[in-house]
Every structure is written in structure tokens, then in C-alpha cells.
Amino acid sequence: MGRTLAEKVWDAHVVRRAEGEPDLLYIDLHLVHEVTSPQAFDGLRAAGRPVRRPDLTLATEDHNVPTFDIDKPIADPISRAQVEALRANAAEFGVPIYSLGSEEQGIVHVVGPQLGLTQPGMTVVCGDSHTSTHGAFGALAFGIGTSEVEHVLATQTLPLKPFKTMAIEIDGPLPSGVTAKDVILRVIAEIGTGGGQGYVLEYRGEAIRALSMEARMTICNMSIEAGARAGLIAPDETTFAYLEGRERAPQGEEWAAAVAYWRTLVTDDDAEFDTVVRIDAATLSPFVTWGTNPGQGVPLSASVPSPDDYADPVDADAARKALEYMGLEARTPMKQIPVDTVFIGSCTNGRIEDLRAAAEVFRGRSVAPGVQALVVPGSVRVRLAAEAEGLDKVFEAAGAEWRNAGCSMCLAMNADKVAPGKRSASTSNRNFEGRQGPGSRTHLVSPQVAAATAVVGRLASPADLDALVDA
């Protein structure tokens, strides 16, 4: 029988397989950031162990770093301590690091791909759940805990138990105005936040094939919100074109050898998935969340659901609690919900294409009075690219704030927070209670919807702006 893509990548990395033991998998790339690594380095130090392959390890600073005044010392003492610990550990163990101020600094999941470090068929890990982002290249990429970080640092391997495979087929072309973010929010609403548990998801079908690499990253990024450890997409010409010429991509003869291998990285026709989910692309539309988990989403054109809509009492209760926390009445049309804050950024939607899409909406328009709009590029390189295209000027002319690279308001570990009780439209990936600051209320949206929302002051799509002008 044939094998799925995920199984092929797994099999190609088995260092050791023994009866009754998990497989020992080789790790091609280990990304490190300041929050989940200090204890791992401390463990190495205590045991007198070196980092086995510093040349397959890369550290960057992202979760804690400020997005303004980056030339000054980090004001928050805990953030500063974590960042300083990472710098000291990287120096002591010989791990390459891109610190604040470097042109390569940025969110770990933006940095890897833009350097061309993330390639098809690789195993990629990081002490961060959104490592699934790298699956967009046909890599097996997943988040790990701090003990596992230490394990990979010391051995460049991980003992792992096998997973199940799930195909997510998006049939047909995407309707215009529908983005990758809308696709993945719909997928999560459909299979639930636990639906992917124990699975690696493979996104397939015509709609997926037509997506850019950046859009594919947005989709794979949120696999974790569906409960899956990883999500991936088979590499194709789009993937190769993205990689060719990047700093860490293979060159010359090696490029040819690599591409020849990468072309084999597809699910065989006779392979079987443990589960198949099909979604007709024609039924997709801009999608937003109304509740406090990423599965609580509806089309932007719909209304806030009522707890009575749920047959399962657990879901009904979750809906009731979510409505209370979010300060929403059932049956309110989503487009009537006013917002205070708009955040465009994160490892989900902080890449150049996302910023272009947002800028397109902002061009010649202004942020509504009383709304704070924050645009935070995912990396310094994204920032420089945007500035070279003049996008920063578009944002500033519209009244949005243009910041330096980092995770920022996605998790509010730095100074960028949504105020208590305030409501945000955010292009990030988690709408958990308090995620964007204590008491914050989050609606997850695409960059296009975020920008249109900033302009209108209520949840809106770019199409609504045209309607406003026509009226």
C-alpha cells in the first residue's frame, strides 16, 4: 500500500526502531526562542552536555521583545531576563542567534521560511505550538515541551509515538474575497478544537494547490487550533519557486538533487488516510470567531449564535460562558459588533503578503475614530520589504501604528495589550480569555477583514467598504 506524505517524511527520519519503544526520529531543524528554552539549557549545563548540532539550531527573540523603542533596554524585568538568558545560552553553547536589532530577527515561524531554512521533507521542531506553520513546505513540523527541547539540543533526535493521518480536502476554487484565514477558521469550526487530536493533517485539493506559500503557512499555522500536532501541504512548483535563491536554500547541483527528491514528497494515490474531511470551496466566505476558542466561528455575514442552537449540553454551556465573557448578545449580526482595537500581525498573518492585503484596504481610507490599529510585521525582513514598497506610509496615512517585529499583541507578553473589557479584531490565532491582555475580547479575522474593520469601526469585510462608497 502507498504512503501518505507525512508517513514518507517520518520514515525518512527514523534513526532507530525497536519493538515496544517509540521511534527515534532525527530532527533537521530546531528553532529556539527565549520563553521555552532557558530550563533546557540549564539542564544541559547541569548534566555537562553540549548542544550536539548548533549548526541545525537557530535562536531568535520574539515573544517578549518590545515593538517600539527597540534601541533601549527592555523595560519589563522578566522579559529582559528571558531575552538576556537566551543570548547568554546561545553564546555559551555556540547556537546562532538573531537578536533584537538584527536584520534577521523576527517571529521564529516567519524567520525560518524566509531564510529558506524550512524545506520540503524536513523534520522541524520548536518549543512553540505554532511550529506547525512550517508544514506548508511539506515538512513534518511540530511544537515540543521544554524537556523535549533539551532532548533535541543534546541528541538532535526525539523519541516519538506514531500519529494518525487526516486529509482535509478543499474541493474546487476559492470564491473571490475568501482568504486562507477564512479557510482554516472554517475547518476548525467544522472539526472542532479537538478534532485533530492525535492526527497530522494534510491539506489538499484544488483550493489549496492555488494558494501562495504565505497563505499555506497561514493554514498550517492554525492546525494546532484544530487540536492537531502538525499540518502539512505537499510541495509543488509554488514551493520550489518560493525557495529558489533564498539564503539557506540549496544552490547549483544540490538544488537539482533537492528538487528531484522533493518531487517524490506527495501522498501516493493508493495511500489511505485514517480520516478524510471534505469541504466544498464554494461554501466558503469570510469567517470570524465570536467566542473564546478558535472553533467558535461563523461567517462574517451571519449572527452570533445562541446557546440554544447546540444540541450537546457541553457546547451549549461553552457558548453561554463565551457570550458572557465576550459581552455579546445571541443573534447580534457579526457586522454590528463594534471594536476598539485592531491587530494585524503574528505568525499567522504577519508576512508581507498579509501586509499588502491590509494596505490595499487601508489605501485612501482612515481608521475609524476611537479605534487603535496596530500593524506589526512578523520579522525585520518583512518590515523592510513593506517599507520598500511604501506600505508603512499607507498604514500611517490611514492612522494605523507601524511597529517593529515580534509576537506583540498576539500574546501580550510585551507592552502591546488589549485593555480590559476592550474588543479586538485580530489576525492572530487564539481568542482565549485574556490572551491579548487581562479581560481582552478577541475576534479572529483575516488581514483584509481586520483592515476593513479598522476603517468601519465594526466587524466588516472589504466588500462592505465598497458598498459604503456606493451608497
Binding site: L24, Y26, D28, W255
Partner: protein, 195 residues
């Protein structure tokens, strides 16, 4: 990791059930960036009460914790194991452990020995009557001995083997260093490096 065969030490009677990991180490200590030095965080909230048993000078230097059922429930924080170890504990005896805590303990080298609740009760009485009483936890024989008490305990075979050999997960993997090196040597030249 140090090998664990037979451990003898004095024991702390913790007459509580459902000791969750928030009690073992409160969340505020998780911001620290080291793997060691969590001894002050252990049971931090309870320790502010002078009558808490850990504050009793007769139990200074204990290495065996005898706790009520459902020890280690709640959050998966690995710091709970680190805090117990940093304080000096080598063994926790209980009649029921939370799964994740037990898994984390096995990884970190802290023995969680599962005994009947009746054994827990007898140990409590014995070490309360005589805080100097030595308790022996024999991993080879899977047996706990204290005064005239002799009782078996349960421990996962794989975890027992690892503790006896002194192998943490990393140590175990490094036993296969040759296989890792052989795999590395055969990796395609086009795979990227970070530096």
C-alpha cells in the same frame, strides 16, 4: 541522572489528598529561567502557615514524602518535580498519582512509589510517632521498609529499569549515539545548516 537502587532517609507525613501541582509550586514561580533552585517554591502557599508540617524542625532533612491519594493532579508543569527534587525529595509514596505528574517524575528521576492507602496510613503514624525513623525504599525489591513495616510498592517496569540504570531520556538516547552518527553521515548534502 543518578542511579536509584535503595534509598534510606527520613520521611515527611503529608496528610492531604488531591495535592495539585499548583500547591506543589504556585504559578508565580514558573517565570523563573533556571531548572534548579525551586526549593523555596515547594508548597509555597502552605509554608506561610507556621503549623504546616514542612515547617516542623523535627522533619528537617527529609527525603521521602508520604502523601495522600491523587498526588500531583492539575497543570502539567514539570516544575513540580523540580521543586520536590530541589528540596531534597528522592521518593514520593502515595496510593494514587496523577498520570502526567507521574510521567514527569519518571523523566526527571523522582521515584513515585505506589502503595496501598493502608501502608500510607501506617507510615504516617510511624513517622509522626518518631520523626527520626528511617524509611527504606528498595527499588530492586520493590519494597518499602520502616521499623517493622514491610510492604511492596508498584512502579512501571520501564521507569524502574531506567532509574536503576540511572538513565534519563537523554542518557538513554545517547546510548544510541552510534546510530545517530550513522544516520547523520547519510543525510543528503542539500539539507540546510543555520550557520
Amino acid at each position: 541522572m543518578e542511579k536509584f537502587t535503595v534509598h534510606t532517609g527520613r520521611a515527611l507525613p503529608l496528610r492531604r489528598s488531591n495535592v495539585d501541582t499548583d500547591q506543589i509550586i504556585p504559578a508565580e514561580y514558573l517565570k523563573r529561567i533556571t531548572r534548579h533552585g525551586f526549593e523555596d517554591a515547594l508548597f509555597a502557599a502552605w509554608r506561610s502557615d507556621p503549623s504546616f508540617v514542612l515547617n516542623d524542625p523535627r522533619y528537617a532533612g527529609v527525603t521521602v514524602l508520604v502523601a495522600g491519594p491523587d498526588f500531583g493532579t492539575g497543570s502539567s508543569r514539570e516544575h513540580a518535580v523540580w521543586a520536590l527534587q530541589d528540596y531534597g525529595f528522592k521518593v514520593v509514596l502515595s496510593s494514587r498519582f496523577a498520570d502526567i505528574f507521574r510521567g514527569n517524575s519518571g523523566k526527571g528521576g523522582l521515584l513515585t512509589a505506589l502503595v496501598d492507602q493502608d501502608v500510607v496510613e501506617r507510615l504516617w503514624e510511624a513517622v509522626e510517632a518518631d520523626p527520626q525513623l528511617e524509611v527504606t525504599v528498595d527499588l530492586v525489591e520493590r519494597q518499602v521498609r520502616a521499623g517493622d513495616l514491610v510492604a511492596p510498592f508498584e512502579v512501571d517496569d520501564y521507569v524502574r529499569w531506567r532509574l536503576l540504570e540511572g538513565l534519563d531520556d537523554i542518557g538513554l538516547t545517547l546510548q544510541h549515539a552510534d546510530e545517530i552518527a550513522a544516520f547523520e553521515a547519510a543525510r543528503p548534502a542539500f539539507k540546510p545548516v543555520t550557520a
